[in-house]
Subunit: 163 residues, 2 copies
DNA sequence: CTGCGGATGTTATAATGTTACAAATTCTGC
DNA sequence: GCAGAATTTGTAACATTATAACATCCGCAG
């Protein structure tokens, strides 16, 4: 890999957002799921950056734009978006991030920079195959994989190696 | 693998506990860390089974045996135990489990049964190597890996495949 | 004995997530 | 279009998980 992945370099992030929204609309239409205004707005807020966003951060943003919302509003929207593979929950951060591979059947693997907070979603068949095999060797039936790597992204290395 | 792993079959669990405690004492002595009565008791409670235990479950058990404890007591003990590699936190469950490979430098990979709740800790070099390589390909410096597999353990397959 | 540092106790509070039920909206069959 | 069903949203209260801040205790070196 010669160029750094998107989150780690300057880019026109509006393109990320509009593409994600377009895909979301297509997926929901195809699946006969209703991407209501609230759900779409939550997805858009999640996509505001490549940093995972907490549910209460989403809530605050909604509130700040006049949308009288309570926690269930946000959690319901997030549940919906997760169900259709449009966002992922990052368990180690209690936060949510837009899915970079919506529609594709995949196992997300996240590289999360502890310095800048950006997260990159990868799909790596070698990794997922190794995981399935290790689980299979114990006769374990895999249903869901949580794989989150914390560390330093290329942009943050050498800057503040600690804290 | 012909025999099922320990958590998935009947065994004398007292042996698990006493071995874990013995290892903990050895590790703490070697590292000049103080395995105080509270810390040791928390470790013992965590090891009461192979199911991850919530901090407030530990708290309740402590309280039920007369130990007047508040959340910080438990969280401090858990922080200590994590620091010395004696317990792991399962992010996807907000719970803690005794480390099956204390002392060894390792990356925990957990097979968590959604039916019986038991968790098996594995170390698999193929998996961890694949993960490090995938992260390295993005020039990402790996510091910590969260890898938690949810599914059905051998004992629970065929019994209640759903819910 | 005295002071220092780690460990613990205690109270309060923050952050995250859920339950339960009412109201509004959208869909469906007619 | 309309009645009824189903889905979505609003709202209030609450449950769970985790931390902050500060006082106290305890073991030990000097």
């Amino acid at each position: 890999m010669s160029a750094r992945a998107l989150p780690y370099r300057p880019h026109n992030h509006d393109d990320c957002v509009s593409q994600a929204l377009a895909e979301a609309r297509a997926i929901c239409q195809e699946q006969h799921a209703r991407l209501t205004p609230t759900r779409e707005r939550v997805l858009e807020l999640i996509w505001e950056s490549h940093k995972p966003l907490g549910a209460y951060d989403v809530l605050a943003k909604l509130a700040s734009e006049g949308h009288s919302a309570a926690p269930p509003t946000v959690y319901r929207a997030l549940d919906f978006l997760q169900q259709y593979g449009l966002v992922h929950r990052i368990a180690s951060l209690n936060a949510f991030i837009g899915c970079a591979h919506a529609g594709e059947h995949h196992t997300g693997m996240f590289l999360i920079c502890r310095s800048c907070g950006n997260a990159l979603e990868l799909t790596d068949t070698t990794v997922s195959k190794a995981i399935h095999e290790a689980a299979g060797a114990e006769a374990f039936v895999t249903e869901a994989i949580t794989l989150e790597i914390a560390g330093l992204c290329p942009s943050c290395q050498g800057e503040q190696p600690n804290g």
